[in-house]
């Protein structure tokens, strides 16, 4: 394979790469100048031809998304999804912190293509540094005429506003993000209407991921064919992989799509830590499921990953789990995360994630039953947009690790339950459950503790 030349990360090691001066010196904003001389339709066509797929998780073709905007619309908004909340994902943060102008140029071109005059950058609450760097970069770009009124004399106006969320995972879902941006509770909306028809402030809205937009200037500058020369079919282009977990060195590395887990671990991370072996891996954020060690050679791209039973590539945030970590612990953390982050709107997700968390907590505490695994399987099969039982994909994310774990690690889970029967139970209920008794859910309290009956009535 020919040596891959960094695209998105080319300025990361350059001193002061985040300043406008350095960015312009390295050919920055030329793509924007080129794009603004074209027609918006032509820019959309280039992006469409490049078959760029959204980097946020679902992998929806970006150019196609833009064509869903209604014809003859008066006002369009661009929302950039920087609410990077998937555990172990941090590529957007580094992209913004190291090279904000590439991002701004991407926003400018995309806004021109979609005719959006206002772009909102929705950053997660914790990204304070990225927020400050963005604010500074926007001010620089505006002063230099890359933003504001009548950019490059083309008659195109653009303002970019940065908005920090309030710390909810669900606001990374596009309609949840829009609700949150409008100042409401971050509850995803039902679709249809899709944001392209009715989004932020009830106007047509495009929601794209930070990394997706960072690809756009390069596509415009070098053409769709160049973009398609990188990576395997249907998964073209460079991708930032973030590798964390039980590896020697946790990295964010740019590679063509289709790299395998083994390659990532061996060539970029210095192997699994402490000389151990990998047992499982998360392919792209925990909501995408689990890979077993046997599947470490499957290319991590949009298509191949699905053959393993995982939900998709997700954010390409690979987490390695070593052979000394019980899968129950992984599931416990996962379930806790999703039970905490479920927005509470749809019944299956609200109750299902909480149920799974309580059960896995009991198993971990040493009170598991083998039939709990069947309950997991049944709940997991009925959660999410794939069976059609929730509004958004959070529930799929909660279900998939369980589904994959049951398919790939069931013997280990059963072993765990058999061997981890603790004497100290967390609640009397769990004690009964472990003994195999039918739990009475309405045990009367001790006689002395019973409150006296009140006879007064209003």
């Amino acid at each position: 394979m020919a040596k891959f030349e960094p695209v998105l990360t080319r300025l990361w090691d350059v001193p002061d790469g985040h300043t406008l001066k350095v960015y312009e010196a390295r050919g920055g904003y030329q793509a924007a100048r080129k794009a603004l001389k074209m027609t918006p339709e032509a820019v959309v066509q280039v992006v469409k031809d490049s078959e760029l797929r959204g980097r946020g998780g679902a992998g929806f073709p970006t150019g196609l998304k833009w064509t869903f905007l209604p014809k003859g619309r008066k006002e369009t908004f661009m929302c950039v999804n920087g609410d990077e909340s998937e555990p172990a994902t941090f590529n957007n943060r580094i992209l913004i912190e190291k090279d904000p102008h590439q991002f701004i140029e991407g926003i400018a071109i995309s806004c021109f293509a979609t005719q959006a005059r206002v772009a909102y950058v929705y950053l997660r609450f914790e990204y304070i540094n990225a927020f400050r760097i963005m604010e500074k970069a926007i001010a620089e770009a505006r002063a230099a005429g890359h933003l504001g009124k009548n950019i490059y004399g083309s008659g195109f106006d653009l303002e970019i506003y940065c908005h920090r969320g309030a710390g909810a995972y669900i606001c990374g879902e596009e309609t949840g993000l829009i609700e949150s941006l409008e100042g409401k509770r971050g509850w995803p909306r039902i679709k249809p209407p899709f944001p392209a028809i009715e989004g932020a402030f009830r106007k047509p809205t495009v929601v794209n991921n930070v990394e997706t937009l960072c690809c756009v200037p390069h596509i415009v500058e070098r053409g769709a064919d160049w973009f398609k020369s990188i990576g395997p079919p249907k998964s073209y282009g460079p991708k930032l992989y973030t590798v964390s977990g039980h590896v020697e060195k946790q990295v964010c590395v740019e590679l063509p799509m289709g790299v395998t887990t083994n390659e990532l671990v061996r060539e970029h991370c210095g192997g699994v830590w402490k000389g151990r072996q990998g047992k499982a891996a998360v392919p792209g954020g925990i909501s995408m499921g689990l890979l077993s060690a046997a599947e470490f050679d499957v290319p991590l791209d949009f298509e191949a990953i699905r053959t393993t039973g995982c939900l998709g590539l997700g954010t390409a945030a690979v987490t390695i789990i070593d052979d000394q970590t019980p899968i129950v612990d992984v599931l416990y953390n996962t379930a806790r995360f999703f039970a905490h982050e479920s927005c509470g709107q749809c019944t299956p997700c609200r109750e299902g994630t909480g149920w799974m968390y309580k059960t896995i907590k009991r198993i971990k505490a040493g009170g598991g039953r083998l039939e709990d695994l069947d309950v997991f399987a049944n709940i997991a099969d009925n959660l999410g947009i794939s069976p059609g039982t929730t509004i958004c994909g959070l529930a799929d994310g909660a279900a998939w690790p369980f589904k994959n774990a049951l398919a790939k690690f069931r013997p280990e889970l059963e072993d765990y339950i058999r061997t981890h029967q603790s004497a100290a139970k967390v609640t009397p209920l769990q004690e009964q459950v472990t003994r195999g008794e039918r739990p009475a859910l309405f045990d009367p309290p001790p006689a002395g503790a019973r409150p006296a009956l009140t006879t007064t009535r209003k």
């Binding site: 039902i190 982050e341 479920s342 749809c346 019944t347 149920w355 309580k358 059609g388 509004i391 209920l429």
Partner: protein
């Protein structure tokens, strides 16, 4: 002609209606269970109870293509060629799962819950749930709290359908209610110091499908299945909202809203909601009185009515004029009989409209399809709701009767002046108002002006104390009949209570005075038929039957089929449900 296929049966959709799958199925007698959907609120599809299998049928080839996953019925438009399957094993399985999930944190305290008997969880558990439960963990227990002085929120019973939140956001646009916290700890909350105190707040209790939001006024007073439900018209203001009055053991216990898209949509105001208390008052008149030796004495009904009839006939024979005050709280039938009686004595007798109470200004809530909404509004028809300043139910109806008998409407103040000038020998005053309408000042003004004063009322007022004959009539809850609301819509309300001891409904009193033919208690429908035959404005109800949503005054009968009246599934009567859901009883041989 749009046709849809529900469970393999073809149905024709009504023209021009934007319906979702639930509404369409309801039209054809198929129930899709739901909690969060409400016809007046935006669609959020969060309870996930209404999931169905959906597909489309190709108009040309007839080929059916199903969507691979289930879809919420509330969000699915019913269009030409839509295929809906509500009874497949997949859908049933899903409904069982949702019921199981909704109950895992529910306290199941039905024996002490006010909603029991009218509860979505109970009904759907029976019809769509399962008897086994796999959840063995500890339940979440959310606290009970007060959202206002009037309404209590049992958060542990809440299923987070957010109907109440959307009501406060979209209908009243006051935004008192919010969702707080996330996941299975989510709860409905108010902001500190900002209670749910808008004038329509009580409706959140009506729309709550479970026992989470409860009215403290009704709390632990009656079981739902012990009360008889009567379809009444609210008489609190001239809007004429459609209501259901719940009665047991001779008293009213609660009023709920009844659907009428032409008048009140699904709502009633709190003022109207608690008006029922007046009908339970111990102060109401419980006897008829006749003045003998300058003292009011309790008299039997026949003696009181005969005294009125004989005295008025005598005065007429002696050439004296009689004036009558027709209260705007009377039904049109009563107003008609009274006018007919008084004008029948002497065509020169004078009829006047009773005092019309006006308090404040009209208050209108105008829901906007876009304002405050987060969900899909394509199936919502926004209708304004008005609380009117005119606090009587039937001014327009009485005026229509007066206009027919007298050509012009004389108001109460004008009549009082003419009484003061001793123009009349006798005065017949009716009231039946919700609160006592006449004060000592009225008594001082009216009493000296006439020789003979009849007061027909439900309250022992100063005017009644000064009268020669006091006739105890019926309260708003005790009378059946028609009212014409501020929009000019004639609506029929049933009686919710039997007549009090010692009283006689106004309609019967007036029938006796009129010497109306026939025996036994009179039916308001018969009187309405006479009225319609005589007064052209009422010609639309010549059959004596008033359409479900009322009849605009002056308009001809439209002859339309009975419209579909929306009733929450958990309020559909056991009989109607039984026909649809439960196994038929074995046929008697």
């Amino acid at each position: 002609m749009a046709t849809i296929l529900i469970n393999g049966e073809e149905h024709t959709l009504p023209e021009g209606a934007a319906l979702n799958a639930i509404q369409a199925a309801q039209l054809f007698g198929v129930d899709i269970p739901y909690y969060c959907w409400h016809p007046a609120l935006s669609v959020v599809a969060n309870c996930r109870m209404c999931e169905v299998e959906v597909g489309t049928r190709d108009a040309k080839t007839g080929e059916i293509r199903m969507v691979p996953k289930m879809v919420p019925g509330c969000q699915t438009p019913a269009k030409d060629g839509t295929v809906i399957v509500t009874n497949s094993e997949k859908v049933r399985e899903h409904q069982r799962l949702i019921m199981e999930m909704l109950l895992i944190n529910h306290p199941l305290d039905c024996p002490v819950c006010d909603q029991a008997g009218m509860c979505g969880l109970q009904d759907y558990s029976y019809e769509y749930g399962q008897s086994v439960h796999r959840f063995v963990e500890t339940r979440n227990i959310n606290p009970r709290k007060e959202v206002s002085d009037q309404i209590q929120l049992n958060q542990d019973r809440c299923i987070m359908c957010t109907r109440c939140v959307r009501f406060a956001r979209e209908i009243t646009q006051t935004n008192e209610l919010q969702v707080m916290r996330r996941g299975d700890h989510a709860e409905i909350a108010t902001f500190p110091g900002e209670p749910l105190d808008n004038p329509l707040a009580g409706n959140v209790v009506d729309i709550c499908p479970v026992g989470a939001l409860l009215d403290k006024d009704f709390l632990h007073k009656q079981r739902f299945w012990f009360t008889s439900k009567h379809e009444t018209i609210c008489t609190r203001c001239s809007s004429g909202c459609n209501t259901v009055s719940e009665e047991n053991r001779g008293a009213l216990w609660r009023t709920r809203a009844r659907h009428n898209p032409e008048v009140n949509d699904f709502w009633i105001c709190d003022e109207g909601r608690y008006t029922y208390k007046a009908a339970n008052s111990p102060d109401l008149l419980t006897a008829m009185y006749v003045r003998t030796q300058d003292k009011l004495n309790v008299a039997p009904v026949d003696q009181a009515v005969n005294t009125v009839a004989q005295t008025l006939t005598r005065i007429t024979r002696e050439g004296g004029k009689v004036a009558a005050v027709i209260s705007p709280f009377l039904t049109v039938e009563e107003a008609y009989l009274l006018a007919k009686y008084v004008k029948g004595l002497n065509a020169a007798n004078v009829l006047a409209l009773g005092p019309v109470p006006v308090v404040g200004e009209d208050q209108t809530f105008t829901p906007d399809p876009r304002k405050g909404r987060t969900g899909d509004t394509s199936f919502v028809v926004c209708r304004p709701f008005t609380i009117r300043a005119e606090k009587c139910p039937n001014r327009r109806g009485v005026e229509a009767v007066l206009a027919h008998f007298q050509g012009s409407v004389i108001d109460h103040a004008t009549l009082a002046d003419r009484v003061g000038k001793k123009e009349f020998k006798a005065l017949y005053v009716t009231s039946d108002a919700i609160e006592p309408a006449f004060t000592a000042a009225d008594a001082q003004k009216l009493r000296p002006g006439v020789d003979f004063l009849v007061v027909q009322d439900v309250w022992p007022t100063e005017l009644a104390a000064a009268a020669d004959v006091v006739l105890a009539g019926a309260t708003f809850a005790e009378k059946a009949g028609c009212y014409v609301n501020a929009q000019g819509r004639l609506q029929y309300g049933k009686a919710a209570l039997p007549p009090r001891d010692g009283s006689l409904p106004d309609l019967d009193l007036l029938c006796i005075l009129c010497k109306r033919a026939g025996e036994g208690p009179v039916s308001s429908r018969d009187v309405l038929r006479d009225l319609a035959a005589e007064v052209s404005a009422f010609a639309g109800v010549a059959s004596g039957k008033v359409p479900v949503f009322g009849q605009p005054l002056g308009a001809p009968a439209d002859g339309q089929a009975e419209p579909h009246v929306y009733v929450e599934p958990w309020l559909i009567t056991a009989k109607a449900r039984g026909e649809r859901f439960f196994v038929d009883a074995p046929a008697k041989s």
